[in-house]
Amino acid sequence: MTTVMDRPAASAGHTASRKPLIERLNIVTAIVLGAVSSVVVWQLALKLLPQNADTAFFFNREDKIMLLALIAWFVGFMTGIGALIGPFRWLMGKDLNHDENMFLAGKEQGVKRYFRYTTDHKVVGIQYLVITIIIFLVGGILAMLIRTNLGHAQGGWIQPQTYNAIVGWHGIIMIVATIIMVTGPFGNFIMPIMIGARDMAFPRLNALSFWLIVAAVPPVFISFFTGGITTGWSAYNPLASQSALGMNGYIAFICIFAISTMVAGANITTTVVKMRAKGMTWNRTPIFIYGVVASVALALPAFPVFFLSQIMSGLDRAFATSFYNVAGGGSGWLYENLFWIMGHPEVYVILIPSVAALMEMAPVFTRRPLFSYNLAIMGIAGISGLSVLVWAHHMYISGWAPLLNAPFMLTTELISIPTGMLFLVLIGTLWRGRLWMTMPLMSIFALLWNFMIGGITGIYLSDVPADAFLHGSMYVTAHFHYTLMGAGLTGALASLVYWFPKMTGRMFDKTLSWVSFWLVQIGFNVAFMGMFMVGLAGQPRRVESYAEIFNKGNLVTTIGAYTIMAGMLVLLHGVISSWRSGVKAPMNPWQAKTLEWTVANPVPLENFETLPVITSDPYGYGKAQS
């Protein structure tokens, strides 16, 4: 596909009176077609599906109707955005010509290209960045609702049903936001330039993976108004099969998102394997690339399982199959296994690219080489390998297989060894560096602090007897916020500030980045330290009211959470104001040595005029010593 783009375009201006179909499709046609088809299918299903088609479950008919309508939305939306044009034309034997491919790449379309099925990886990167910010905003508002409700014990002003729905909604969309927060914006925008490529291996799949996420968002919003995801983000069965119609939105959301992740995974992996610049051997490939590849490569085995688990969940609801229904020969443990076979690799899908991004920044802001590049790769590989073997540590006390507790405790605790390697790489790079005091640099320190706490509490949780006490308590909630937010999000925010000049052509406002950094980090530690305390004192997770002894800890957490919100709002303000009117960025503001800083601002459509040739790794800082 990419070879088509090697030639300069002859003409991209289409002045014909009747625009071809490919140029008329955009987000508006997509939403209209999606909405119309879902309403049509909904009404048809209401008319045609027999009343009392089956008597096994009350929800069956409504579940079928809702799932059909959501599938119709999905198909309509993807058709409307133009995802089918390429395959259809290829099927007809009239593959897209050069001009059409250039149009798809977004050539000379200004802002409009961001609202189309655009294949340029830089457009996709910006699209991902914006949707990540939007999802974080919604998820953050939900978090504030949760914390406000928990501000004091009996003062729950949110009804239990609504509260449970908010918790589930917050959980699942934050998980999705954190999964895409690094590999989405930076993996798409920066990664191909960093390896010296002109685009991704499969540009149309790249657009597909982004628009699938957009298609997945409405179902999860609709679910909130049809009873909500009242099961937490894990949606355990049989609770999920008992829940209101909103669960169908969750199922549709996960299935579409899983396809998006698989598509992105295949695309990014292929790009890195096949399209690195001449001379960029595996030993000269920047560490961030390893992080991105490890992340999406882990998603490749994980997300098909997630997809499958939700298909089975949907079948249980709509067709009274009994994959998870004990009375019909199924088992809730089956769901738990499938869910966590996805769920544990998934946390490393989130964490690894964030840590790798900070490892990429460490040499830049300490002006010395990355310490032990090989150990960094070993650490990433070790975590990735082990992470698929640890899932049942979420099930120690489920009663599923007590004899497997000891083996899973072993694999889980082994992860501390490769994780330790990542710590050594970061700390070794800081050691005797010439520290350039910027927000990304301080983020490395913040990550070390947060991830240390998240890691050590993880060891308690990996220990079966301690987990028998801690499991299902607020302690677990605090622990995974320390890893996913304290470590993961910290790396993503640093990436935002670090790559902002390349992505937008403007510097991120320095003062605002500092203010938000300290507000977020201090607020974060206050909030989740409080949560550790109440967890240890015995407060279960996902409760909308609690005993009075937990008052103080919860109040502390709520105060911390508001501080985080303030910090995030400052950051949001920083993003908007710097993007609109920030200082114009030079080509290489950080004087870094990776390839993305060798291209002009704004990055030309095909990135490089002549493809670079690599002769060394990108960490050649430091004064030569003989």
Binding site: Y236, P238, P369, L435, I459, D463, L536, R542
Partner: protein
């Protein structure tokens, strides 16, 4: 920091930043260990069983074992941060230090973390073994625990037909819980006794404990189970054997009369 440039003659442990790190490490290790254990163990509160006591010991031991590592990372980070710093919009000159690898440091780090990992594993396995054995105790009394949205019910196997919504147990007597659910998944958690077992519909799972303190303790549901999950809690009353027998007699008479 000038001594960094001095040639190989200066031994690495004589460099000022190494000394500083070592000193910081010596200071921080006990502080982190002490604060970490005290805060955590105080939050947990007093144990009401052997199992909970060993959980507290475990967490204390793990915290103390982790504190030198945490202190080392902190010491290295603080020393680095107190070294050469540069403010401004333009990058500083390159660092003097150009070492991009140190096999000695890397291998030491990996070996030490492997040992710590093995230590955590073995300590955990020892305690786990003890917990598992208690389920096999033939002298134990048996209680069937049934979760349903959103209450707990307790059936006393040895006292046919006695059922209660609060749990009553005699002190110092081992008890095995047979846990199940009639609707969705719940999780049976006696907070101060440190035991927890999921209640799965269609399956019976076991856990065991020996309460060793008279008093009233908390039972909470630890798995989101729907609308009133937060309110699915009850109490366990641990009584002396005499009080327990009296309660049992009274209870069976009432139920017999009814």
């Amino acid at each position: 920091m000038t001594n960094l440039q001095t040639p190989q003659t200066t031994k690495w442990w004589k460099k000022s930043d190494v000394k500083k790190t070592f000193l910081l490490w010596l200071i921080l290790t006990p502080i982190i260990g002490y604060v970490g254990t005290t805060v955590q163990l105080r939050s947990i509160g007093a144990p009401a069983s052997e199992v909970m006591a060993s959980v507290k010991t475990l967490m204390g031991v793990f915290t103390w074992a982790a504190s030198p590592v945490a202190a080392l990372v902190a010491a290295l980070a603080l020393t680095s941060l107190s070294g050469k710093r540069h403010y401004g919009d333009n990058p500083p000159a390159d660092a003097d230090h150009q070492i991009s690898n140190s096999p000695r440091v890397a291998s030491t780090w990996v070996v030490v973390s492997t040992l710590l990992c093995l230590f955590a594993l073995i300590t955990g396995l020892v305690v786990l073994q003890k917990d598992n054995e208690s389920i096999l105790d033939a002298t134990a009394m048996n209680v069937n625990v049934t979760g349903q949205q959103w209450v707990w019910n307790f059936d006393y196997v040895e006292s046919n037909g006695v059922r209660s919504a609060d749990l009553y147990l005699p002190v110092d007597k081992p008890v095995v819980f047979h846990v199940t659910s009639v609707d969705v998944k719940h999780s049976f958690w006696i907070v101060q006794m440190g035991i927890k077992m999921d209640a799965n519909p269609g399956y019976v799972t076991e856990t065991a404990v020996t309460p060793n303190k008279i008093g009233v303790f908390d039972i909470r549901c630890a798995e989101l189970c729907g609308l009133l999950h937060a309110y699915m809690q009850t109490k366990v009353h641990v009584l002396s054997q005499a009080d327990y027998d009296a309660w049992l007699t009274a209870k069976s008479t009432i139920e017999g009369a009814a």
